[in-house]
C-alpha cells in the first residue's frame, strides 16, 4: 500500500508538485495521465529517490517513510522505476549490470546471491518472454539500443527484480504497436495481488493493453480527477483542456483535501 499525502516538490525554486495526494492499494494498477509538464515524471523520480529536489509532505509505503530512504534502499525493498529514458552505460555489460542489481536485492532480502550459471539460466528465460535475444546480455547497458529495445530492457529488469511497487514512466513513448504489445504483455504477466503498479502515460493507448483499476489525472502538480478506465477514454476524446479549465474556475477543486 502506497499513501502519498500533500506532496510538494520543487526544483531550483520552481514548483512542480503542489499538494499531491494519492493512494495505491496492494495488487492494484493505477494509471496517471496528464499533459506535458504536469509533473508526472517528477512524481516517478521522487518516489524512486532521485536527489536534487526540495520535497515536503508524506509518503508511506508498507508502513515505512519512503522519503527517508536512499534510492538504493527503496530498490532493495522492492520499488522499481522503469525509466522514460534509460541511461546508456558504455563498457559495462548488460549481464554484469543485471546480475549486480539482482544480487543487491537478494542480499538485502537475506537470500543467497545468484552465481553466474544460475543467473544466466534465470535471465535467459526472462529475456525470451520479453523477446530479447541473448546478444543483449553481452552488449553494454542500453548502448546503441533502439527505443523499443531500451524499454524491453527495463521490463526485463522489472521481471528479474520482482518489485512490490513498479512505476512505469511513459514506457509507451516512442514504441510502435508491436513493441507496445510486447512491453504490455511483460507488464501484465507481472500483475499479482502482492504487486502494485503505477503506469504513467500521456496517451490512453497504453491502457488498451494494460487495463488499470484506477485512472488519475495530474495537472499542474495535483491530482485533479480520479476515476475508472472510462476517464481515460473521456480524456482521449476531449483532451486535457477541459480539466485544466475546470481547475482554473475552481482553484480548490477535485483532488484537494
Amino acid at each position: 500500500m502506497l499513501k502519498i499525502k500533500d506532496l510538494h516538490v520543487s526544483v531550483e525554486g520552481r514548483k512542480i508538485l503542489d499538494g499531491l495526494d494519492l493512494e495505491v492499494p496492494s495488487g492494484e494498477v493505477h494509471a496517471i495521465m496528464g499533459p506535458n509538464g504536469s509533473g508526472k515524471s517528477t512524481l516517478a523520480q521522487v518516489l524512486a529517490g532521485r536527489e536534487g529536489f526540495e520535497v515536503s509532505g508524506a509518503v508511506e509505503w508498507d508502513g515505512v517513510d519512503l522519503l527517508s530512504l536512499p534510492a538504493e534502499e527503496r530498490a532493495r525493498r522492492g520499488l522499481f522505476l522503469a525509466f522514460q529514458y534509460p541511461v546508456e552505460i558504455p563498457g559495462v555489460s548488460n549481464a554484469y549490470f543485471l546480475r549486480s542489481a539482482v544480487n543487491a536485492v537478494r542480499r538485502y532480502r537475506g537470500e543467497k546471491e545468484l552465481d553466474a550459471m544460475d543467473f544466466l539460466k534465470r535471465v535467459k528465460a526472462e529475456m525470451q518472454t520479453v523477446g530479447m535475444s541473448e546478444e543483449f546480455l553481452y552488449r553494454s547497458v542500453n548502448e546503441g539500443f533502439s527505443g523499443g529495445e531500451k524499454k524491453r530492457n527495463e521490463v526485463l529488469q522489472m521481471a528479474l527484480l520482482e518489485p512490490k511497487l513498479a512505476i512505469l514512466d511513459e514506457t509507451d513513448s516512442g514504441l510502435d504497436i508491436d513493441a507496445l504489445r510486447i512491453v504490455a504483455d511483460g507488464v501484465n504477466r507481472l500483475r499479482s495481488p502482492e504487486r502494485s503498479m503505477i503506469v504513467i502515460t500521456h496517451y490512453q493507448r497504453l491502457l488498451d493493453y494494460i487495463v488499470p483499476d484506477r485512472v488519475h489525472v495530474l495537472s499542474r502538480g495535483r491530482i485533479v480527477r480520479s476515476g475508472d478506465r472510462e476517464l481515460a477514454l473521456e480524456l482521449e476524446k476531449r483532451g486535457y483542456g477541459w480539466l485544466e479549465e475546470e481547475r482554473r474556475k475552481e482553484p480548490r477543486g477535485v483532488g484537494q483535501r
Binding site: A48, G49, R50, E72, F83, A101, A104
Partner: protein
Amino acid sequence: MSAVQGWVDTFRAEAQRLPGAKLPWLAGARARAIERFAALGWPTNKLEKWRHTSLALLAQQEFAVPPVDRVDLAAGALAQLRQGAEAGHWLVFIDGQFAPGLSDIGTLPAGACVDSLAGALAQRPERLEAVYGDAEEGESPAALNLALAGDGAYIELARGVAIEAPIHLVFVGGVSKGTQLVRNFIVADDGAQVTVVEHYIGRDDATSFTNTVTRVRAGRDARVTHLKLQQESAQAFHLAALDAVQARGAYFASHSLAFGARLARNDISSRLEGEGGEALLNGLYHVDGKRHVDHYTRLDHNSPRCTSRELYRGILDGTGRGVFTGRIYVAPGAVKTDAEQRSDSLLLSAGAESDARPELEIYNDDVKCAHGSTVGQIDETGLFYLRSRGLDEQHARNLLVYAFAAEVLARIGERSLRRSAEAAIRARIPGGQLLEALA
C-alpha cells in the same frame, strides 16, 4: 645527479662506452645533442609548450634506488604482465637495457627484424642512420635522450610484411639504477603492418626517471598501431616523445594510456606527409594524489585528403592535474583535410585540475576541422539509474568512472590489448577490483 651539469658530466664519462660510440655520425649527433640540452636546460613554464608542466624540480632530484635482486624483480613483473596475454613477441628491458634472458622474441616472418637498439647499431648501423633523428628535433628532454640513450627496440618490416601478434616491449625501471634512457624505432616499409605495445613499469619504492623516445616511420599504405601503457610508480618521473611520419595512405594509431608516475609528460606527434593518410591519437590518463600527467600532441596535415581523429579522456582525483594540448596544423596545400579533436575530463574531487587547449592553425579553406572539450563530474542521471537498481552509491560511481574510461578503450581494435588495458584501468580506479567480473 639530475642537474643539467650532472647529465653533461655523465655524458663525458659514458659517451665512449655507449653502443654505437664508434659510429662517427652517431657520435657527432650525440655530442651536438648534449650541447643543445646543456644550452636549453630543463623546460620551465616560461615556455609556451610547457606552460602547465615545469621540469625545474628535476634539477634537484636524486634518482637512486635501494638494492634489489634485479632478475627476480623483473621476472616477477613480467610474469604478471604476460598473465592472460596471448602469445606474442616479448622484449624485456631492465633499466633501459635489453635483457635477452627474460625476452621471448618468438618466430617472425621473413623480412621482419626485431632487435635491441644496441644489437641493431652493431648489425645494421646504416639502417639506423636514416631514422635516428638529429639534435635539433624535439624538446630538450628529447635532446638528452639522443645524447645518452644506448638501448631500446629496433623493429623493421620490409615491404608488405605483416606481423600478426603484437610486439610487446617491457621496460622495467628503477631496478638497479634510478634512471633509464630508451630509444625505440618502428620502421614499416610500404604496405607493412605491425602493432607495438610499450609497457612501462617500475618498483613502488623507487624514485626513478625514464626518458624515452619512439620514432615511427610508416611507408605507403603501411599500418602501424602503437599502444603505450605507462604504469610506473607514483614517485617516478616519466618523459616521453613519440614521433611518427606517415607516407601516402598510411595508417597510424597511438593509444596512450598514462596511469602512473608522479609526473609524466608525453609529446606525441604525427606528420601526414602523403595523400590519404589516417591518424588516430587516442588517450586515457588517470591522476590522483598530487600526480601530474601532460599530453602535448601535434598533428601536421601536410598533404591533401588526410584524416585525423584525436580523442583524449582524463580521470582526475585528489589534487591531481591533467593537461592536454592538441595542436593541429593544416598546410596551405592540404585540401580536404578532415580533422576532429576531443578532450573530455572527469573530475572526481574538488581539488583536481584539468587544462585542455586546442591549437588549430589552418592555412586553407577546404578543410573540415572540429574540436571540443568538456570538463565534468559524474553524471547524476546515470548515478540515479544505477542506484534505483539497488547498487550502492560507491559501486554506482565506480561503474560510471569505468564507463567513462571504457569509451577510450573501445577504440583499441586488438581484443587482447583492449583486455589488458581494461584490467590496467580497473586496477587504478577506486573500487576497481569490484569490477573484475565486468567482462
